[in-house]
């Protein structure tokens, strides 16, 4: 956990108004793990006031990437960054995906911008496991497959791939899943994660999901990011510190 003064290398606009921000920071690039995140100060002014959390999307040498779309003032400011600008970064934060364990195929399940952490995930796995990706979105415009491979797609409106949500698509392919030693890794909107949890638990698949929450600090001091624990009803877990990645058996969404 460090505060580093990094530099913007480049801002790259993908299709569908998705941006990649390439950042020079040997400290972060050298230490961050797939599924961990950074908390960026997007401006020195008091608006936006709080840092903004982003998953690490990929790492290349001394550089790392985040992937985002423009939602509000914070991401708008980020999208206007240019080469050489200083960027105040807090990270690496959170726990990352658990890549240990006895599986042969990593089944990646992404909804919308939930694809963000997977390019780095795939790079780290580096051929040691097989990859199977299920990517969903409401329409084809929201299906983000950047940096992923072995992809099946689903859209709510059927404009690309399977018509339905991405968990229904998993269900369609349940035989393939069952005939392999798999672990599922999911990232996306909460309703999708909820459905994925049920699906995994029902079918007895190991499954890690990367969750989101409003955050003030990102490192455990504000108590702003609670998530219900499956094991201890008397206290909440914290998304920023105990997560953002949880085994589906550990939390109630």
């Amino acid at each position: 956990m460090l505060i580093v003064n990094a530099n913007v290398e480049e801002i790259i606009e993908l299709d569908n108004q998705i941006y990649l921000l390439k950042i020079f920071s040997p400290e972060i690039a050298g230490s961050i793990k797939p599924g961990q995140f950074v908390n960026l100060r997007v401006s020195e002014s008091t608006y936006p006031l709080l840092r903004r959390p982003f998953s690490v999307c990929d790492v290349e040498g001394d550089f790392f990437y985040i992937m985002f779309n423009v939602l509000g003032e914070g991401t708008k400011t980020l999208a206007h960054k240019h080469h050489g600008e200083a960027l105040d970064i807090l990270g690496p934060l959170g726990n990352g995906f658990n890549l240990e364990g006895d599986f042969e195929t990593a089944v990646l399940v992404a909804g919308g911008l939930g694809s963000a952490p997977f390019p780095y995930f795939i790079r780290k796995i580096n051929g040691s496991k097989k990859i199977l990706s299920f990517v969903g979105g409401r329409t084809f415009r929201e299906v983000i497959t950047y940096g992923m491979n072995n992809i099946l797609t689903a859209t709510d409106d059927g404009s690309l791939g399977f018509k339905g949500n991405v968990v229904e698509l998993l269900n369609e392919n349940i035989e393939i899943l069952k005939s392999n030693k798999i672990k599922i890794f999911g990232c996306g909107p909460t309703p999708m994660l909820r459905a994925l949890s049920e699906f995994s638990i029902k079918n007895n698949f190991e499954c890690d999901i990367s969750t989101e929450s409003a955050m003030a600090c990102g490192f455990g001091i504000c108590q702003g990011c609670p998530v219900e624990s499956a094991k201890d009803k008397d206290k909440f877990l914290l998304v920023c510190k105990d997560g953002p990645v949880f085994n589906v058996k550990d939390i109630v969404l």
Partner: protein, 305 residues
């Protein structure tokens, strides 16, 4: 090494400098220790403690607003017992005054917490949170009831010899009346301010963005209000004041001290820049050198009107 004297007195409580870390914005110190040397800080105020552990409010607990944030954490805390067993040993490794913040649901609970905690010699003072929206007596909040605040002060003073600081609510007509009650009942200092009641709605769902419906507003948005409250107390009551609310840098600290604060607490800023306290302390020293100020405590209440 300069000759500037950054130390301040908050009533009987001596601090090496005026920069404290506010309750609820530093946890119990361990995460902050990764960013700053706690030995350099004026004082640490712990997250509000209650007699029993509290789970706190369900999410969503926070939302950003223009130059501010709303929170409704709901006093999530480990409780007095776990605090003494698991949290304080870490803090004791440092040479930093620990101020224990207490929030309770009844006067008896306040007294009980104080009695237990006062035994722990590492605790240097108490800050009593009477201004939390979750704490009610007869339907009214303590913090909005002058006689309740007086009574709490009196009863707590009766069970501890340590300095007692009462943390006041800004959600009242005249905050100085509360400071007066604290003084009358033997309180050693007041801290001002806690958060202001606010809310925000999601216009799509028409639901409050915060599960608790309302939350407490903090951050630079409230600084002008906080400075005015400190000034109001300073001009009306002779009691040491700890200034809190929206501090983002050393200039804001000086502003609070000019208005009457003997020391200050950094809150929301810790989330944005956990290393800020150290930078501010260094800048304050430089400010004193530049201005030829020998003792920073001379700045307290030095406003010219």
């Amino acid at each position: 090494m300069s000759n500037v004297d950054l130390s301040v007195q908050v009533g009987p409580l001596k601090l090496r400098n005026p920069i404290m870390l506010a309750s609820g914005t530093v946890g119990y110190g361990n995460e902050m220790a990764e960013f700053i040397d706690l030995n350099k800080i004026g004082g640490i105020v712990t997250k509000s403690l209650s007699l029993k552990p509290r789970k706190g409010n369900p999410p969503q607990r926070i939302v950003e607003t223009p130059s501010g944030m709303l929170n409704a954490i709901g006093l999530a805390n480990v409780g007095v017992e776990v605090f003494l067993k698991e949290k304080i040993p870490f803090l004791k490794k440092y040479d930093v005054p620990i101020i224990c913040n207490i929030a309770a649901s009844s006067i008896e609970e306040y007294v009980e917490c104080t009695k237990i905690l006062t035994e722990e010699e590492a605790i240097k003072a108490f800050e009593i949170n009477v201004s939390c929206p979750n704490v009610k007596e007869g339907g009214l909040q303590f913090g909005n009831d002058v006689s309740a605040v007086g009574k709490i002060t009196h009863k707590i003073k009766a069970v501890t010899n340590k300095p007692v600081i009462i943390k006041l609510s800004p959600n009242v007509s005249y905050i100085s009346e509360f400071a007066k009650a604290v003084k009358t009942e033997g309180g050693d200092a007041v801290s001002a301010i806690n958060t202001l009641v606010g809310t925000a709605f999601d216009i799509k769902t028409r639901r409050p963005k915060i599960k608790n419906i309302t939350g407490g507003l903090s951050g630079p948005a409230i600084k002008p209000i906080a400075v005015a409250k400190v000034l109001e107390i300073k001009r009306n009551v002779d009691i040491p004041i700890i200034g809190i609310g929206g501090i983002m840098n050393w200039k804001d600290v000086v502003e609070f001290m000019i208005a009457g604060a003997s020391a200050v607490e950094l809150g929301t800023l810790n989330f944005i820049d956990p290393a800020a306290a150290i930078k501010i302390i260094e800048s304050l020293e430089q400010y004193c050198i530049d201005q030829g100020i020998e003792k920073i405590s001379d700045v307290t209440g030095s406003f010219k009107i």
